[in-house]
Amino acid sequence: MQVYVIVKHVPDTAANIKLTKDCDYDTGALKFVVSPYDEYAVEEAVQIVEKAGQGEVILVTVGPDKAAATMRNALAMGAHRGILVKTDDKFLDSRTTAAALKAAIDQDGSPDLVLSGKTAVDTEGCQTPYRLAAAFGFPVVNEISALELNQGRAVAQREIGGNDKEILELDLPCVVGASKGLNTPRFPKFPDIMKAKKKPITELALSDLGLDSGGADLVTLEPVPERSGARMMQGSVRASVEELVTILKDEKIL
């Protein structure tokens, strides 16, 4: 099994994002992590290859030089090696990203399965798994919370709202986007972290892949102001609740 896992280098979800002019943000003091949903994809890939008893888990990232350090965290989870397509464009559109991933994988080998997180938490696009699948001509499912591989077929479970789930079937090779619930990503132990430092990461430049870009263009990026603080209800619990209900009725919320 050659399993490729798409991993994105994103700002830590707990971090404050300091926006600067021209649709950019300050990365100076910012901590970067593997996009949370991608961790489920890495864990699933490692388990699949462990179970098969043979094969390789290869991480593929499109990102800046610094993304290599983030990839090491995912390598410590048990992936074998990585490919980094380097670009300084923080908001590369998903069409170009998918084309870059396809080109990088084509140079490396032939995938039996491609896994990724269902979405990246920075740009919240939810599109790259689909565009990558289209580029390969593979079928795709996204937002998957359970996966079984059996004789060249994948059986995947997907939440469809209101606690209901659907079961989908598709042939391998395919692209599968991971959601929470797929597995419990492991915390790498110290020896795994040390081992990951020696695992190879091949670097390519996006500009060498000869891709045309273009798609959704970012025009402005503005901070979302936080609410300025709650108006607190006063008095006994009963009085507080009555005051709240009155306000909500006055505001036509109830």
Binding site: P11, T13, A14, L19, Y25, P36, V121, D122, T123, E124, G125, Q127, P129, Y130, R131, A134, V140, V141, N142, E143, Q157, E159, I160, G161, G162, N163, D164, K165, E166, L168, E169, L170, D171, K180, G215, A216, D217, L218, V219, T220, L221, E222, P223, V224, E226, R227, A230, M232, M233, V237, R238, S240, V241, E242, L244, V245, L248, K249, E251, L254
Partner: protein
């Protein structure tokens, strides 16, 4: 005026109410709206679509399979229908179905897509959407022959704008076989309104303490016509299924009213609900971060506050 197609989500031949805001967004400043549905709908449903500005209602199918159970076939059939009706833009809801179908469509057609948009402007080909888990709002332009967008449910308030409606059917041919097939649906044992579609949500955090204790929130939710949510801490503690989780690694919601009980107010939780119109926090700790970022607060124990809230709501409804 541009002509805009919308994918309308149906349930048992009826149009879900959540589509009204989508139709309003598509109508914009007088756009002609073509509503696409994936199953036959009742005359009443057609009238409902007309009330919100749909001039045409088209039932889309494919000759090679069932579009409702094959998402890839559905996306290809919808792309053909959009072409047949000559629409300039195509929009859907950012629900489990809409997110999937539109991403497939965008990938098949190699066109940009604004996903989970809060505002769309088809005439200007722009959309506003969240970045960095709701910490920033991005305005994007989408160039191309067909503007594609999914709209966050409840993000646009529905406005009635009645027009005459014509019903039609469209069957796509020559679009190949389905490669992704739904083999079954596992219905949950618990009837629960879809969180992303709910106009009101009441959420319990870790202090809820057990799955059974969600009953007090469910009782209140029945009076409020609300869905019940959970924080990540409550889900990780095993008190609620992941389907109920609101926040960074759960659902992103935009209800009119969001009541957070025993939720501390982590950045990751706010990422999933900060576009709610009104946020109410209920917490025993008067210094809880939730109170710094919500609209109204009550300091108190949810086990005491919520039953009284349920009681007061019942009293006011009966008056």
């Amino acid at each position: 005026m541009p002509k805009i197609g919308v994918l309308i989500e149906t349930e048992n031949q009826a149009i879900k109410q959540i589509n009204h805001g989508l139709l309003t967004a598509a109508r914009g400043q007088g756009n002609e709206v073509v509503a696409f549905v994936l199953e036959a709908v009742s005359d009443k449903a057609a009238h409902q679509a007309a009330q919100y500005g749909a001039a045409t209602l088209v039932q889309v199918s494919a000759d090679s399979g069932d579009v409702l159970s094959s998402p890839d076939l559905c996306a290809r059939a919808l792309a053909r229908a959009a072409q047949e009706y000559g629409v300039d833009g195509l929009a859907g809801l950012a629900t489990a179905q809409g997110r999937d179908i539109f991403a497939r469509l965008a990938a098949d057609l190699d066109l940009p897509l604004a996903s989970d948009a809060l505002e769309v402007d088809f005439a200007g080909q722009t959309a506003i959407k969240s970045h960095f888990s709701g910490k920033a709002m991005a305005t994007v332009t989408l160039s191309g022959r067909l503007m594609l967008a999914t709209l966050r449910p409840n993000a646009v308030a529905p406005v009635q704008d009645a027009v005459q409606i014509t019903a039609a059917e469209y069957t796509a041919t020559g679009i190949g076989q389905a490669r992704v097939r739904r083999t079954s649906i596992q219905k949950s044992s618990q009837e629960q309104m879809d969180l992303t579609e709910a106009p009101v949500i009441i959420t319990g955090g870790r202090p809820i303490g057990s799955p059974e204790n969600y009953t007090i929130l469910k009782d209140c939710a029945r009076v409020l016509n609300a869905a019940v949510g959970a924080s990540r801490a409550a889900v990780d503690a095993g008190f609620a299924p992941h389907a109920m989780q609101v926040g960074q690694t759960g659902k992103t919601v935009s209800p009119n009213l969001y009541i957070a009980c025993g939720v501390s107010g982590a950045v990751q939780h706010f990422a999933g609900m900060k576009t709610a119109k009104i946020i109410v926090g209920i917490n025993t700790d008067k210094d809880a971060p939730i109170f710094e970022k919500c609209d109204y607060g009550i300091v108190g124990d949810m086990f005491e506050v919520i039953p009284i809230l349920t009681q007061v709501l019942k009293e006011t409804q009966n008056r």
